[in-house]
């Protein structure tokens, strides 16, 4: 019984943390702060995954997402970051007025999603029988296993491409941007 009560607290706490972290992340001027908040939110998300019974997903979230992707981000931010000047620049780019229209749009979208998700008549595809994911999965790993391999090759080539683009940076960097990055 106590266990259910604890479960309840942890679940809602982590939901709260995720929401607040994301909110803060969006409004930060400094890129690094934003990144850190993102890491916090993904960690709390991992907790939720776990609570929803998807332990494997929670682990993956922490390893792949919080671990690899965010680190990559931090590296890039560090490289580009121009320090205070860029923070001031960020402030300039973010007038208060700028928030109004997007937040209106987002709140409408949110209301629609919530409306769509209530239980009496949940939002399901209208009059068309979607293919169940199971059959997709069976098909995916049945006859189309080759396709899955190809998809992975695709991702690999994407990565190599990105790597190739990024690699040219040192040889072309002219003197002033290097100094600027240095004293950031």
């Amino acid at each position: 019984m106590i266990w259910a009560y604890l479960y309840n607290i942890v679940f809602y706490a982590s939901c709260g943390v995720t929401v607040v972290a994301t909110l803060l992340m969006i409004s930060r001027h400094n890129a690094v702060h934003a990144l850190l908040y993102l890491i916090v939110s993904s960690l709390s998300l991992a907790i939720i995954f776990y609570l929803l019974g998807a332990a494997f997903a929670a682990a993956l979230e922490v390893i792949v997402y919080a671990g690899a992707v965010m680190i990559l981000f931090v590296f890039v931010v560090m490289m580009l970051n121009q320090g205070q000047r860029s923070a001031a620049l960020e402030a300039a780019w973010l007038p208060a007025r700028g928030w109004i229209m997007p937040s209106i749009l987002a709140s409408i979208l949110l209301a629609l999603l919530l409306l769509g998700m209530n239980s009496e008549h949940p939002l399901q595809p209208y009059g068309v029988h979607g293919v169940a994911v199971k059959d997709v999965g069976i098909a995916l790993f049945g006859p189309y296993v080759l396709v899955v391999e190809l998809a992975s090759f695709l991702l690999l080539s994407g990565l190599i491409g990105a790597f190739h683009i990024a690699r040219k940076m040192p040889s072309h960097m002219d003197q002033n941007t290097l100094d600027e990055a240095g004293n950031g």
């Binding site: 749009l105 979208l109 629609l112 769509g116 008549h121 939002l123």
Partner: protein, 611 residues
């Protein structure tokens, strides 16, 4: 009789020679061809007349030169038809025509475009002869239009002055209005009778048409409209006074003797149809009477010598229409012949006077010319006497016959007769006013008379002819319906002779003794001005037809239908500009549109889910 085709052929050949030989012929050669062709045509007419009058000869002669138009059941031939009526018209056209050509060869001697003048004159006579000798209405229409074009060319002969050009175009377009009505009459006639051949029309019309039915009435009205247009009768008469812009021989030939009588000839020729429409005949009489009176009053205060004669021509042709209307068919043609003689005489004497006074046409500047220009003076006196119909002259015989016939008409008889006599009275006043103003009174100007054998002989011949013509008998008797028999009471003849004499007396008092000057007072001035402008018809037509048409044409110069495609082009350009704003390169704008699109789709999905 077989050389009939030579009569219209010779002037045509003369025309082609003069046109092709432009610039290569000497003046005298051009004169020889010009006058010669008409003179020979006149001789041939005499020769044909001899054949015609010889005892036992057929009264009608028809020859088909070649089948002109054959399409389906329409058979129109290029043929000539000769009978009493066309023979008398031949006398007028070739006889008076050759005298006028003879006179014109002298009159136009100094003019640079001598050859072009005679080319047009020959073409005119050829077209008139074709009109008179045509055996079907389409060929008559060919002559009819040809005559109209030649009058356009000759009125606008001195083309340097745009006013002449305007007068020529005005004449052509107003007559063309009449011609269109004539053409529509032709179409209706063909639809009703199935043929356009004149002799057969005269036969079919009485059979097919019921007297007074609306078919013959409509056809007769349309033919009447054509005749009115060409003979310058009331509704379409505004072009004749302006037609005086042409050289005087032209006015003499076209606007006195031949072309303006074409309308009378048309009505006489298609009398079969007119007899089937009695109320149209009445309309003809009324038109004749009104034109007679109106042009009489207008002639009273004209100042240009040729315009006076033009209005007098209009009123004399009014007499002929009047005669046709009352049923005096042969008398009308007889009056046509006598009028051709003395009016040509009057115009040619006026021409000599104008030439003597170095192209001065205003009678107020002339005076006392009887001593310096004796021959023109006496010819003018004879011409005016005929015009006024004094007893011994030919004018008396023709006008008396018409007035007597008008008395016989059952219902309107006496009224018509009274109108005719009033017309004769006014004619007397204005013609002798002209005579006294020009030849009597103080000598204001020094004329020097043009000598030369082309001037006096034609005048003298015409003068004698117009005196003698009273006793001629035209062979129109059997062709045209007989005019009403019976003699009007004696007093009508006395009145008919007395009134003109009274008119002459009044003219003498006013213009020689200068009495009753009261007529020149102010309040008379407005009436005289009104009469001077020919009862204001010119202004009325200009406001009614001319200005609306020209302004409509100017407003819609580049036509509005052309605007449609250009509208299309502008629309597509506007849409292009509108849509290009959407792609402004701003990434965040695209995301915003993405988000709003998502919202719309979701809203749609949710709203449909509910149902």
């Amino acid at each position: 009789m077989h050389q009939l085709w030579l009569i219209p052929g010779l002037p045509l050949v003369g025309f082609f020679l003069l046109v092709l030989g432009h610039g290569r012929f000497t003046r005298s050669l051009a004169r020889l061809i010009g006058v010669g062709s008409i003179a020979i045509a006149a001789l041939i007419t005499l020769w044909v007349a001899l054949d015609f009058y010889s005892p036992g000869a057929a009264q009608t002669y028809q020859v088909e030169l070649w089948p002109w138009l054959t399409a389906g059941e329409l058979e129109v031939s290029f043929g000539l038809y000769l009978d009493g009526l066309s023979l008398s018209m031949l006398f007028v056209v070739t006889g008076v025509g050759s005298l006028i050509h003879w006179y014109a060869s002298g009159y136009m001697w100094q003019d640079p475009d001598y050859q072009r003048f005679f080319a047009y004159m020959n073409l005119f006579v050829a077209a008139m002869l074709m009109l008179v000798l045509a055996d079907n209405l389409v060929l008559l229409f060919l002559g009819w239009e040809g005559v109209g074009v030649c009058s356009f060319l000759l009125i606008g002969f001195w083309y340097q002055d745009p006013a002449n050009g305007y007068a020529a175009r005005k004449a052509f377009i107003v007559t063309r209005v009449g011609d269109t009505a004539f053409a529509i009459g032709l179409f209706l006639l063909y639809r009703e009778l199935g043929t356009l051949d004149l002799p057969s029309i005269m036969v079919l019309a009485p059979e097919k048409f019921v007297v007074g039915a609306n078919q013959p009435t409509l056809i007769a009205t349309l033919l009447l409209a054509g005749a009115v247009g060409k003979s310058a009768q009331l509704p379409l008469h505004i072009w004749l006074p302006d037609a005086m812009a042409g050289p005087t021989p032209v006015s003499a030939l076209i606007h006195a003797a031949t072309m303006v009588t074409a309308g009378v000839y048309l009505i006489a020729r298609t009398h079969g149809v007119f007899l089937q429409a009695p109320d149209v005949l009445l309309a003809v009489a009324f038109i004749g009477l009104f034109t007679l009176l109106i042009s009489g009053f207008t002639a009273l205060n004209q100042t240009d010598i040729k315009r006076v004669l033009a209005y007098s021509t209009m009123s004399q042709i009014g007499y002929m229409f009047f005669a046709l209307g009352v049923g005096a068919w042969s008398e009308s043609i007889f009056h046509l012949m006598t009028h051709a003689l003395f009016k040509a005489l009057l115009f040619m004497t006026a021409g000599s006077i104008i030439l003597a006074l170095h192209h001065e046409q205003d009678i107020r500047l002339m005076g006392g010319l009887r001593r310096q220009l004796p021959v023109p003076f006496w010819c003018f006196v004879i011409g005016s006497a005929c015009l006024v119909a004094l007893p011994p002259t030919s004018g008396f015989f023709s006008k008396e016959a018409i007035l007597n016939a008008s008395w016989q008409l059952p219902v309107y008889g006496p009224w018509f007769w009274a109108g005719g006599v009033l017309g004769a009275f006014i004619t007397a006043i204005y013609s002798f006013r002209l005579l006294f103003l020009v030849f009597f009174g103080a000598e204001k100007v020094q004329p020097h008379e043009p000598k030369g054998w082309q001037f006096h002989p034609p005048l003298i011949i015409l003068a004698t002819l117009s005196l003698v013509a009273g006793w001629f008998v035209l062979p129109t008797g059997d062709v045209l319906p007989s005019s009403p028999a019976g003699h009007p009471p004696m007093w009508t003849i006395v009145v008919a002779i007395g009134l003109p004499l009274l008119g002459i007396g009044i003219a003498y008092q006013v213009y020689v003794r200068h009495k009753w000057q009261g007529l020149r007072l102010a309040h008379w001035q407005r009436l005289r001005q009104f009469w001077f402008q020919g009862f204001g018809f010119d202004g009325l037509y200009r406001r009614l037809f001319l200005t609306p048409f020209t302004s409509l044409a100017q407003v819609n110069r580049n036509d509005i239908i052309d605007g449609l495609p250009t509208l299309l082009i502008q629309l597509s350009r506007f849409l292009h500009r509108l849509f290009s704003q959407l792609q402004n390169g701003q990434l965040r704008a695209y995301i915003a549109t993405l988000a709003s699109a998502a919202i719309i789709i979701l809203a749609l999905a949710i709203s449909t889910v509910g149902k």
